[in-house]
Symmetry: C2
Subunit: 127 residues, 2 copies
């Protein structure tokens, strides 16, 4: 049961390294975006593969599309990636504080406290 559904959230979409590559490549183009054939050359991947990845990225809103002539210009749509950025930012305190002091404090608390499961309420201790 409960498989992953790549077509629903940006985290799934960027899980695939090639799709991150697509985004990184797109990001190097100006606001007008980049047509598929140029992406195909840049990435060195078969065109159907690129198109399929673009379809996934578009499905989750990570890129947007503009048709011009027979080409389709894709460009990065920041909002989706912003969500990822903000999710990760929630964990900022885990890398801004030095790990060593966190570890020390963790071990000190571990020794001194009975067991931290007496309350349902999560604790926030900071230094």
């Amino acid at each position: 049961m409960a498989r992953r559904t790549v077509s629903s959230d940006p985290f799934e979409a960027i899980a695939q390294p090639k799709r991150r590559q697509v985004l990184e490549t797109l990001a190097r183009y100006p606001g007008a975006g980049c047509p598929v054939n140029e992406l195909v050359v840049s990435l060195g991947l078969p065109q159907p593969v690129v198109s399929k990845h673009l379809a996934v990225l578009k499905g989750v809103g990570l890129v947007s599309l503009e048709k011009r002539g027979r080409q389709r210009f894709y460009r990065v749509n920041g909002e989706g990636i912003r969500a990822v950025h903000e999710w990760a930012a929630r964990f900022e305190r885990f890398w801004t504080h030095q790990l060593t002091s966190i570890k020390e404090r963790a071990e000190r608390r571990a020794r001194d406290l009975p067991t931290p499961n007496t309350s349902e309420e999560p604790r926030r201790d900071h230094d």
Copy 2:
């Protein structure tokens, strides 16, 4: 051919919503971390499922582990998430600039590019 390997990079690991839940729950605990049984209660998932997700997170360095008695305390390891945060930050300009000005610039450039067949007014009839 080229499958995704969940046990190799943090992007794969956080693709799974339940693993993000695990991280979010862990983040609410103090530096000492959280034992598995408490995670099981908090998440309402079967214990083997939680353990398996923790194994994946540990495999990619998103959590670290400290044994104490028969319990194992897991805590968030910031470095892995930091990588995600920094990757997303590379796209910051796509959401800090207003979308409207980006669009305008896109269309201006689209007119100026050497691609043929855009001598007319650019079309805005789709997104």
